[in-house]
């Protein structure tokens, strides 16, 4: 479904990705874990065309999409739920969701978009209750739901989720992760970036560990969860400490 081959990305002169290769098969949840500053967000931003890679190759759905602009990828069904949600704070919940369907607004029938809206409302009933409320006034958990809902409005084949648990209480995180694994069951492929390695490894099939711009370990999620090194670095400290872990972990 998605394949990266030796992808290198710079920010100006700063080398952020030092040759990243990974793959996500159809219908999988794959996690990328690692400390703050490892380059996880940069991987997602490079895939979705927010930043351009310097070299390497990105293949999505059998097409070489290296250097494609974001809007083309969204149209192909590759959609990011970004770090910090990036909602339209001064717009209503409903308007945010409709903008999620922006790429389809010309081609798709109104009735199709309405069906998808109902689907999002059935996954996150609270969004329906709050549909006329401004996005900026929602709680953290509701904002994350809206960010996922907005992405779902574009009918994605694959979701790139960047730290969906960030700043959320454990119970809210749990319900968001439940939705993510339900989405996979309905056929959506997921690449999940998380600092909360414990939660991520619990729902992922496979995982990659990133440090300072490169992948340092990979394997099945259960294998990695049992790995003593991973346990010490990412799992041993318990849930809350992982969230606040410094970058030199």
């Amino acid at each position: 479904m998605l394949k990266l081959q030796s992808v290198v990305t710079y920010y100006g002169r700063v080398l952020a990705l030092k040759g990243v290769s990974l793959h996500v098969d159809h219908g999988e949840i794959v996690a990328i874990v690692g400390p703050n500053g490892a380059g996880k967000t940069t991987v997602l931003n490079t895939i979705s065309g927010i930043v351009t890679s310097h070299s390497g190759k990105i293949v999505f759905d059998g097409v070489d999409v290296t250097g494609y602009p974001t809007e083309a990828l969204v149209e192909m069904g590759l959609v990011q739920v970004p770090e910090g949600r990036q909602l339209f704070a001064e717009m209503t919940v409903y308007e945010n969701l409709m903008l999620g369907a922006y790429r389809r607004s010309r081609a798709a029938k109104k009735s199709e978009v309405a069906v998808d809206l109902e689907r999002v409302y059935s996954i996150f009933p609270i969004l329906k209750e709050r549909k006329t409320q401004l996005a900026g006034t929602l709680s953290g958990g509701e904002q994350q739901m809206l960010a996922i809902g907005r992405a779902l409005m574009s009918k994605p084949k694959m979701l790139l989720l960047d730290e969906p648990s960030m700043g959320l209480a454990p119970l809210v995180t749990k319900s968001i992760f439940k939705v993510i694994s339900d989405l996979r069951k309905e056929g959506t492929t997921v690449l999940l970036v998380e600092q909360n390695a414990k939660a991520a490894l619990a729902i992922a099939k496979r995982a990659y560990v990133m440090e300072t711009g490169r992948i340092v370990m990979e394997g099945s999620a259960s294998e990695l969860a049992r790995n003593p090194e991973i346990q010490r670095a990412y799992l041993g400290m318990g849930y809350r400490q992982i969230m606040e872990q410094p970058r030199n972990a």
């Binding site: 979705s48 927010i50 602009p69 974001t70 809007e71 990828l73 969204v74 149209e75 959609v79 990011q80 970004p82 949600r85 990036q86 909602l87 339209f88 704070a89 001064e90 717009m91 308007e95 409709m98 903008l99 999620g100 922006y102 790429r103 607004s105 907005r150 574009s154």
Partner: protein, 304 residues
């Protein structure tokens, strides 16, 4: 004697209010243009007044040769083209530049447009016939209506009607259409806009073309009232900027109200107090606002 004079002056008030209202409509449209571009780029486009000039001059030149049905769209297209030129060749290639340098570049662009117009059409005022009127000896004379102790010209009604249409149209566009929503989204969260697949560069282009087109429409309807002149854009741009700031940059309703108020205040100042200082009104108001409330006066209330 002095009493007689002041009664005379007071009798002029309705007339001054009407002509001020007409000019205020143009300020209002220019203010909306400032806000559209400010919203999508944070840039204050000081070439905004020149779009009005381009619309007015092109329309006036064409109206002496062809009908309004040809002149109007051509003049608006010329304005839109000027907007696209600013976006395409000036702002987008320099997207790494700071907002302040971009603003200074728009000042340069405005001087360029003025010079170009002077080169093409000269410095003299170009008269334009009113849209509707009666032909007297091969010359179109505007109709006049009596209204609350003043005369109002049909062309002034055109200005007010077109302004109302544009303002309502803009409101519907930004609230009800997906393209308008996408343009708002770019202003609110550019990264979020890219993530949902909005082409932000294209939206910036669209905002320049729209703001310029609006300005040009204002220029076309007002050319029979003011005469079209290559240097008319400066004062209109300044008044529109003043109105946009007064109404809170980015706030359409505030800018429209402030534009009309400014037009009326200017006209009353010029007619009743000191005609020489009429053009200073916008400057003085602007200075006072920037000193007291840099975020704009009407903003709070409009957003509440």
């Amino acid at each position: 004697m002095s009493v007689g004079l002041s009664v005379d002056l007071l009798a002029q008030v309705p007339q001054l209010v009407i002509s001020g209202f007409t000019r205020g409509c143009i300020y209002a449209i220019v203010a909306v243009g400032f806000s559209i571009i400010y919203n999508s780029t944070q840039v204050i486009n000081f070439a905004q007044g020149e779009f009005v000039m381009i619309g007015a001059v092109v329309a006036a030149v064409l109206l002496s040769k062809t009908s309004l049905l040809v002149a109007f769209p051509t003049a608006v297209a010329a304005g839109c083209l000027a907007g696209a030129v600013v976006a395409l060749f000036v702002l987008l290639p320099l997207k790494r530049a700071s907002v302040v340098s971009l603003i200074i570049i728009t000042i340069g662009t405005s001087i360029m447009f003025r010079g170009l117009a002077q080169l093409l059409w000269g410095e003299a005022a170009i008269p334009a016939p009113p849209f509707t009127g009666v032909v007297v000896q091969g010359y179109v004379e505007d109709r006049e209506f009596h209204f609350l102790g003043a005369y109002i010209r049909a062309q002034e009604l055109w200005v007010m009607g077109v302004t109302a249409l544009l303002v309502v149209g803009m409101h519907i566009f930004f609230r009800r259409t997906i393209l308008g929503q996408a343009m708002r989204a770019c202003a609110i969260n550019q990264l979020g806009a890219r993530i949902v697949g909005i082409n932000v560069r294209r939206m910036i282009m669209a905002s320049f073309v729209m703001a310029a087109g609006l300005g040009a429409v204002a220029g076309v309807v007002v050319s029979p009232v003011f005469y079209a002149k290559c240097n008319m854009g400066t004062a209109l741009g300044l008044g529109g900027f003043c109105a946009a700031v007064l109404g809170g940059l980015g706030n359409f309703a505030g800018g429209v109200a402030a534009g009309i108020i400014l037009g009326i205040v200017e006209s009353l100042t010029g007619g009743l107090l000191w005609s020489d200082y009429k053009d200073a009104v916008a400057f003085v108001i602007l200075l006072v606002i920037l000193l007291l409330r840099p975020e704009g006066v009407l903003r709070r209330r409009a957003e509440a």
